[in-house]
């Protein structure tokens, strides 16, 4: 929100002109006034005002919570393709929406996203709010956050969920900051809690590096927003030709909002290797010993249809690219099976693997902390255990 200094305002109306959401008007005394519900804190008026009479004043958006209804899922796309986390959240969103007695909707923003919008319907969205335009071709914080804020201000959803991807963890706090909303990061569970006759979104998330689980509610601000880790919820079945209601909105982007420009994709860096989505992750740590030895892990990954991951020192030594790194400063994984080979199990590593269904650890140190989280701990030299295992698997394949 913004604050207008009535003393300084000369009633020129420049701000009213420039406001992309028509949140400003002149009152009977020819002074600018702002409609708090509509303002998205884009700040355009601030730079336009000739007398510096406007400043940002972000306040918690508390108003009347009963005006807000509907569960929204942000449908993240890459090159126009809907990412998996969207459908996963729509699956969970469906449950929440029925309990709230609400509609389930998706939001899709991009340059060529009609298919992605339709797809959201296939995964259960009754409505899809779509903002389409060349200028949304690549993700940029301000334009996306501005578009999202505009939709939220206009349609007033009760709940908005984002994937806790790099993009989601950039967009959601920007929207929350702009609109003055509570936001819970990296949720691993969502349910409903009744408080004083009102149903609230109960958000569960790990804190302190995964040493503690916290339950969080945002009782006063609407929408209640959360980012949710990918692969925590499973993807519902896709239905064909659902034909959701598509609500398209134009978002007027003032060039001033483009403070950031993407220059290039940096080469030499591998893109996604899919550790986050994989059902099986074979991860190696310093105990693997050398770059060549990762071959063993590759073979095991091939045999089990999995992907190779690693601990941070492996990236530091340049044996594998950053995209393989699992843990606090790497990826959070949630496979059916995680095999940790020669990884000691530092908290920064363990925090990234807690959502795995089954963990197998191979380490020659019987006291290795990784064993505390493993379902099966094998004390031994991985250079002996893995070849034996490959042989067992190979025997199966060959038959």
């Amino acid at each position: 929100m913004i604050k207008i200094d009535r003393e300084e305002c000369i009633g020129c109306g420049e701000c009213v002109e420039v406001c992309p959401v028509d949140a400003l008007s002149l009152d009977s005394e020819e002074k600018a006034v702002v409609d708090e519900d509509t303002c998205t804190s884009c700040g355009l008026c601030i730079s336009t005002c000739p007398t510096n009479a406007i400043e940002t004043k972000i306040m918690a958006r508390k108003g009347d919570t009963s005006q807000y209804s509907g569960v929204w899922v942000f449908g993240e796309t890459n090159d126009g393709n809907l990412k998996e986390v969207g459908p996963q959240l729509l699956g969970k969103g469906r449950e929440l929406a029925s309990e709230f007695n609400d509609q389930l909707s998706a939001v899709v923003i991009g340059s060529d996203v009609k298919d992605a919008a339709a797809k959201c319907g296939n995964y259960g969205a009754e409505k899809v709010y779509m903002v389409e335009g060349e200028e949304f071709d690549q993700y940029k914080t301000l334009p996306f956050s501005f578009a999202m804020s505009q939709l939220i201000s206009e349609f007033k959803p009760r709940v908005v969920l984002y994937g806790a991807t790099h993009l989601g963890r950039d967009l959601a706090p920007s929207v929350a900051g702009r609109l003055g909303l509570g936001l819970t990061a990296d949720c691993t569970g969502l349910s409903i809690k009744e408080e004083d006759g009102e149903k609230l979104l109960l958000q569960t998330r790990p804190a302190f590096g995964g040493n503690l689980i916290a339950e969080i509610v945002c009782p006063n601000t609407r929408p209640q927003m959360a980012t949710v880790r990918p692969n925590v919820f499973s993807c519902p079945e896709e239905t064909e030709n659902s034909q959701p209601e598509i609500i398209e909105r134009e978002v007027d982007l003032n060039p001033e909002l483009f403070k950031v420009e993407i220059l290039e994709r940096l080469s030499g860096e591998e893109g996604e290797v899919g550790v986050e989505e994989a059902d099986v992750v074979i991860a190696g740590g310093r105990g693997v010993g050398s770059e060549e030895n990762f071959q063993l892990l590759e073979e095991l990954a091939d045999a089990l249809d999995g992907v190779v991951g690693c601990s941070r020192p492996i990236v530091e030594d340049g044996w594998l690219s950053k995209a393989h790194q699992v843990g606090q400063s790497g990826k959070t994984v949630s496979p059916k099976l995680y095999i940790a080979c020669g990884i000691s199990g530092a908290i920064q590593h363990k925090v990234g693997i807690r959502d795995s269904d089954t963990i197998i650890a191979i380490n020659k140190d019987p006291e290795a902390p990784i064993f505390d989280v493993a379902d099966l701990s094998v004390v031994g030299d991985l250079h002996e255990v893995l070849p034996e295992l490959l042989e067992l698997l190979g025997g199966e394949d060959g038959s």
Partner: protein
């Protein structure tokens, strides 16, 4: 130019234990450290400063209890020129929203900066929200997952940075000022201050500002100013100790193989 680095003192998560009964963190005996991501952010700020012609002043700012001064002292020893601690009982219990508001008030009082740095996340809360939320308060753009600043041009008022995305790294250009949330690169070696630096740091300004200094009503700060409420905490459900096997590699492999079959990961 003025650089402002937001730093937080956090309990060392390696050492943290949970009280199983009350479901809270046992802080006693747990060492406090400078949040590792913030340490990187400060080092990045220092490296940029060294490479610039303009005179650069680096301020480290933190909101926290009085003992958070130790983390600021460490920043001064590493190379920051000034430390500011925002500390008051009414700031306690703040969520990311109230934290970013308090830091914003601190920035206002300080008179603003030309470039802002935060860590990508604090290792206690792991929310990664304070940086972008601060940017909103300051009406600035923010950039998250920044691994490096490649070039900074104060005359033309821009910088270029290397940022991690879900699809790999990209190079971005941004207007100044901007709020950078910094992500430690794998090859980062923290600067360990020597005795000389620690002594020198003792003469650097380290101020503490309280609620009266920042202004605003008490309800805007701390627990009262927080929009998200933690209603309960508990230790993560432990799966119970799994099976542990010690013996010949061959048998170890067989154990694994049997489990893989059970899980249906490989064919029977």
């Amino acid at each position: 130019m003025d650089f402002l680095v937001f730093i937080k003192q956090v309990p060392d998560t390696d050492e943290v234990k949970v009280d199983e009964e009350s479901g809270t963190i046992i802080r006693e005996g747990v060492p406090s450290i400078l949040n590792p991501f913030d340490e990187y952010a400060l080092n990045l700020a220092l490296r940029l400063k060294e490479g610039m012609e303009d005179e650069v002043n680096i301020t480290a700012m933190s909101m926290g209890p009085p003992q958070a001064k130790d983390a600021l002292k460490k920043c001064l020893a590493i190379g920051a020129d000034r430390g500011i601690l925002l500390s008051d009982k009414v700031f306690g219990g703040a969520d990311t929203w109230a934290t970013s508001f308090t830091l914003f008030k601190g920035v206002e009082k300080m008179g603003g900066a030309d470039l802002y740095f935060s860590g990508q996340e604090a290792t206690d809360g792991n929310t990664a929200q304070v940086g972008p939320e601060l940017a909103s308060h300051l009406n600035l753009s923010s950039m998250t997952y920044v691994e490096d600043v490649l070039d900074i041009n104060p005359k033309e008022g821009y910088l270029t940075a290397k940022k991690e995305t879900d699809e790999g790294f990209i190079k971005l250009k941004s207007e100044l000022p901007v709020v950078l949330s910094c992500m430690t690169p794998p090859d980062f070696e923290p600067k360990i201050p020597g005795v000389k630096e620690i002594m020198k740091a003792k003469n650097k300004p380290l101020d503490t500002w309280n609620h009266d200094d920042l202004g605003g009503t008490e309800e805007e700060y701390g627990l009262e100013g927080s929009e998200s409420q933690v209603i309960s905490t508990y230790p993560p459900p432990s799966k119970g100790p799994g099976e542990k096997f010690e013996g010949p590699a061959e048998e170890g492999a067989e154990k694994i193989f049997a489990l893989l079959k059970d899980e249906g990961v490989c064919d029977d």
